[in-house]
């Protein structure tokens, strides 16, 4: 019961903040809502017994990536007259297709879903930092290394793009 209450509160907050992100007039407010949204998602992870992921979510997403967004918003968007920020008819045809796809997705979830509740007491303990580490450094070593190369490339790319003169 407590879990259900927590889930619904979290879900409501996540969707609410998500809606605010895409509707807020000021971009800075939008970024703020995004942070709040990510924090709620982190709470959801805690409920799913993934505290490590929750902490990573807060640290990397909220503490890192969104700060970057905020920086750029401050650099770019300051005191510009509020332009017509929302245009519902933009990309209309693609929107219809997407909506159809989403409907199909929902239908699939309803048709195939409603699976059993999570079987507790399996191989996954809430204290799973070690397990994640082991998986990352053994079975998924190559993807892990590729991911780090990706980060390196992104870093260099960002520097090259943002630097005025090289």
């Amino acid at each position: 019961m407590a879990e259900a209450v927590a889930f619904y509160i979290c879900a409501a907050l996540i969707l609410g903040f998500g809606a605010l992100v895409i509707t807020a007039k000021s971009t800075v407010h939008s970024v703020l809502y995004l942070v709040a949204d990510f924090l709620c998602v982190a709470a959801l992870y805690v409920m799913l017994q993934a505290p490590f992921l929750a902490v990573i979510q807060v640290m990397v997403y909220a503490g890192g990536i969104v700060v970057l967004y905020l920086f750029v918003v401050m650099l770019v968007n300051l005191k510009r007259p509020p332009e017509a920020h929302s245009d519902p008819r933009r990309l209309g045809r693609l929107g219809v297709a997407m909506a159809a796809a989403v409907l199909v997705e929902f239908a699939a979830i309803f048709a195939l879903g409603w699976a059993k509740p999570a079987s507790a007491g399996g191989a996954l303990s809430p204290n799973n930092v070690e397990q994640i580490g082991r998986a990352l450094y053994t079975d998924y070593l190559i993807p892990f290394e590729v991911a780090s190369v990706l980060l390196l490339v992104a870093m260099i790319g960002a520097i090259v793009l943002a630097k005025r003169e090289l």
Binding site: V28, H29, L32, P51, V55, M59, G63, L70, F71, M74
Partner: protein, 339 residues
């Protein structure tokens, strides 16, 4: 019921009150220490030797006019101080202030919670506080505040990397992310990690100064340069929030340093027999003593050093501290494998 609900609540209240009182008196201590270094007396008027000065300060901040600048983003301007303060306070949730205490037949753990990712929790929560600084500077619609907040966030992000790297070495030694586990690992090893990792400890200290915006890294609020940095436009209670948060953050980094490098609540020299009387002092007292020692170092440094320049600070962080911290991780790993 008692153990599940009331006990944690009582502990939360105790920790919050203790932190706020400590903050008030750290401010007084800072003024006093600085005064003594500078051959002055410091606050002397409110109470004997200025002992009631913090109360007067709080009262003053409460009754001061709370000004919101024209054309400021009111919503963000109000939220920013709160965003700074809250993470600084909730970080205390995983700090082990003492070992297990026994009271009225109950075994009470000397902490609010022992999360198995405790250390990561502290780091991630500390990362949230930066929003308050950026947003505060941005929303006040002042160029000085904006410059201050940009400086501050750049500084925090760069030094966080070095600090996190030093924490990695500690994690490698302890083999756990739990704060309690780290203290117990120090007990098991027989050495405080501050002695096993002097380089990491030093980098942590420098990084801690930078992350809490203290001298000689107090550029974001360098009053001689940026007036008051990101909180230039703040007054009254909202300014007090920033002030509280700065000192609460100082206490957070000090308690983390105590836990990670100075053996937490453990008494020093447990293996020297003629010093065994040190074990009679309760654990929380040792913890407080060590924390205050670390805090005193903050004040001492502030009274002694000039301030770094922004580019020098960045150079120090990126070209010295971060490589050094990474090297330290590598060496620690090698030693762990080889020895």
């Amino acid at each position: 019921m008692v153990e599940a609900l009331i006990l944690p609540l009582v502990k939360i209240v105790i920790v919050l009150v203790a932190v706020l009182v400590t903050v008030m008196y750290i401010v007084l201590l800072e003024r006093k220490v600085q005064a003594w270094v500078q051959v002055r007396l410091g606050p002397m008027r409110v109470g004997p030797h200025g002992i009631l000065q913090p109360l007067a300060d709080v009262l003053k901040l409460f009754v001061k006019e709370d000004i919101t600048p024209a054309r400021a983003d009111k919503w963000v301007f109000t939220a920013a101080p709160i965003i700074v303060l809250v993470p600084a306070l909730i970080a205390f949730a995983v700090i082990p202030f003492a070992g297990d205490l026994t009271l009225f037949g109950l075994t009470i753990p000397g902490r609010i919670a022992d999360v198995n990712v405790g250390l990561l929790y502290v780091i991630s929560v500390a990362g949230i506080g930066i929003y308050g600084i950026i947003l505060g500077g941005w929303s006040s619609n002042s160029k000085w505040a904006l410059l201050g907040s940009l400086r501050s966030s750049a500084q925090l992000i760069s030094y966080e990397i070095a600090v996190t790297m030093t924490l990695v070495t500690v994690i490698m030694l302890a083999g756990t992310l739990s704060m309690v586990g780290i203290v117990q690992a120090q007990l098991a090893k027989g050495w405080w990690f501050g002695f096993m990792q002097p380089v990491a400890f030093f980098i942590y200290f420098v990084g801690a100064l930078a992350e809490t915006n203290r001298a000689p890294f107090d550029l974001p609020e360098a009053e001689q340069e940026l007036v008051a940095g990101f909180h230039t436009e703040y007054s009254g209670m909202r300014f007090a929030f920033y002030f509280l948060a700065e000192y609460a953050n100082m206490i957070v980094v000090s308690t983390v340093a105590t836990t990670l490098f100075l053996g937490g609540w453990l008494a020093p020299f447990p293996n020297v027999s003629w010093l065994s009387f040190l074990g009679l002092v309760p654990g929380w007292a040792w913890f407080m003593l060590k924390t205050f020692g670390f805090l005193y170092a903050f004040l001492w440094v502030r009274a002694t050093f000039p301030r770094y320049r922004y580019d020098q600070l960045m150079r120090l962080g990126w070209k010295w501290l971060i490589p050094l911290a990474i090297l330290n991780v590598v060496v620690t790993g090698l030693l762990k494998v080889l020895v």
